[in-house]
Subunit: 346 residues, 2 copies
DNA sequence: CTGAAAGCGCTTACAG
DNA sequence: CTGAAAGCGCTTACAG
């Protein structure tokens, strides 16, 4: 490495003082157009970029933001990409940290990050305990997504559980009268929100609920929920809290000899890529995870700038209707349900 | 914020010179046990942590490593977690960057990162063009995983295509004589490796290949590959390059009225979580992605330290046999295949 | 409009 | 074994 150029090198080449270079680059001083041009040309020629460590030391700002993620996040790369692009546009660098364990342990790890003094702000894409504050003891702002506890003023876009209501409405319109919810882990605000929305929707519409099963984001939870059902449960519509659970529900139905969607309609959440290629393909709720990442980061930048959080009026969630949902067949028999191209039964 | 403690504060409290604090903390000078203890106690009391920016400025080292990831990486959080833990243990901080577009564009983004002067080394979890070097023009070491082009001396653990051979052998032992491979994107060394291994295995064993279809990591590729088959293709064993493609193959089979695994056996790769809950559940190749992340990072640290790359003798891949593979049924009929608990056919 | 100077918090020869 | 001093590359009052 041929020694990276410094502002002193640029100053020498441009024939000005080193401080002038600094003023030009930060845009702070009042520098004449021609001097500025000369400095810029010299910087260009030397391939000069300011040493961030030195700048950081002087400004007492790190310019770095942390993102904490839990392991069981679906499609994290999309979220990170969205967040990173906003951070970069705002002049920040972004670092990713995994947090593990219980919400309490995760919280401790987040606080540890805040204490390190290396970050100006933190975005959490994992559930942590509410502290009742929007910032850490060090005064570092924290922005949480949907899955954060709502007491933390979750960004909440993907936590929006209104698709549950739309799902129930459509299924009821198709003729469904009996429902089951298989919930996700109660650590997640999103799981609690979906459950709440499910219960409210059934209540308001006077539909029959076989209850709420599950409680973790696993395929096994879906299988077990179906195993526990009475033989005369179908025709039934199952609202699963995510696609993995929904796939488990479909497997559970197969085990019991119930057809999907004839005997059991199933909906998921997350729009896993494989969902479109299952037989039957899976009805699901798709969220724009990249946009979620962007929004969370925009909120953090707003907090950092002391501005009001930006409003995000457009909902991020969209229902994708596929083959796993259809009108219930009136009696359980061997006919394939109408209006679907479900898997052939040999 | 009550002004973070500096080494000067610690020195004052311990009643020593500031440089003594520095010597104690870096472990470089020769400091008496009692002075060291006094300094440590003072540091503890003040909650002192060295200012990394200042240290970096002095040492001319950033202590930061970059990881670049492509979007279509399966389970990136596991890989990142593994890499991050090794980086931290080595005293480095790790930043994640997404890279997009063609291999050429990705390469350009990686080189840009190297040029920024912010990183001491780079791990690539995405395919980029080979440069014929193990380091960038700036002399920054780059370590690539399996999916990197092999000319870059890929870490190669997960690229290990030997499971393909084992898959073919087992299927042949079950009675399969006719095979099809649905390949992934040729940008990926892993895809090319699997295809090569497939062709070699069939050749050596004198088995019939219906060719190599696909060419991208999508479910659609799997569906199309089956659509293009002749009516008398089954009984057939399909080696799909990953689980998403495999699910497409299963859907394609359903479309054509072929049962899985009776008419068509299917194998995937990646061990998607949903695979175990499909009906039939999907035979796949599971790789320890966290360990892959660790190994890649260990290689980078070795390169940074000027040491020989560590040997990783243990293979990372393991075949998970599930219901989607079974002996072919001799003639296509309605009997469910033996020895599996595939989905009931109503 | 421009330059000389101080200082951010650290590490590391160097002298005692 | 310990301390005084220089200096990493930058920003920013301050004086001209």
């Amino acid at each position: 490495m041929p020694h990276r150029a410094t502002s002193r090198d640029v100053a020498r080449l441009a024939g000005v003082a080193q401080s002038t270079v600094s003023y030009v680059l930060t845009g702070k001083g009042s520098i004449s157009a021609e001097t500025r041009a000369r400095v810029l040309r010299a910087a260009e020629e030397l391939g000069y970029t300011p040493d961030l460590a030195a700048r950081s030391m002087r400004t007492r700002r790190t310019g770095r933001l942390a993102v904490v993620m839990g392991i069981p996040t679906s499609d994290p790369v999309e979220m990170l990409t969205g967040a990173a692009s906003v951070a970069r546009a705002g002049g920040y660098t972004m670092e990713v940290h995994g947090v593990d364990g219980s919400p309490a342990e995760r919280t401790e790890q987040l606080l540890e990050l805040a204490r390190s003094g290396q970050y100006e702000g933190i975005v959490a894409f994992a559930p942590v305990h509410p502290t009742g504050e929007l910032s850490t003891p060090e005064g570092i702002p924290v922005v949480a997504t949907a899955d954060f506890d709502e007491e933390m003023h979750a960004a909440g876009d993907l936590a929006d559980a209104s698709p549950v209501t739309a799902l129930v409405d459509r299924l009821a319109a198709l003729g469904h009268r009996r429902f089951l919810h298989v919930a996700g882990s109660a650590d997640y605000a999103s799981a609690r929100g979906r459950e709440r929305a499910y219960l409210a929707a059934l209540e308001q519409r006077g539909l029959e609920s076989l209850g709420v099963a599950g409680g973790e984001w696993t395929g096994e939870a879906g299988v077990e929920a179906v195993r526990a059902l009475a033989d005369d449960a179908p025709p039934l519509a199952v609202i699963a809290a995510n696609d993995l659970i929904a796939v488990g529900v479909m497997r559970g139905a197969a085990e019991r000899g119930w057809s999907v969607p004839g005997d059991v309609s199933v909906t998921g959440w997350d729009d896993y890529e494989v969902g479109a290629y299952l037989s039957p393909s899976l009805t699901t709720v798709a969220g724009d995870r990249r946009e979620l990442g962007r929004r969370a980061m925009r909120r953090l930048l707003a907090a950092l700038a002391g501005e009001a959080p930006p409003l995000d009026p457009t909902p991020l969630n969209r229902i994708v209707w596929r083959e796993s949902t259809a009108a219930p067949v009136s009696t359980r028999d061997d006919r394939a349900p109408d209006g679907t191209s479900g898997p052939p039964r040999s």
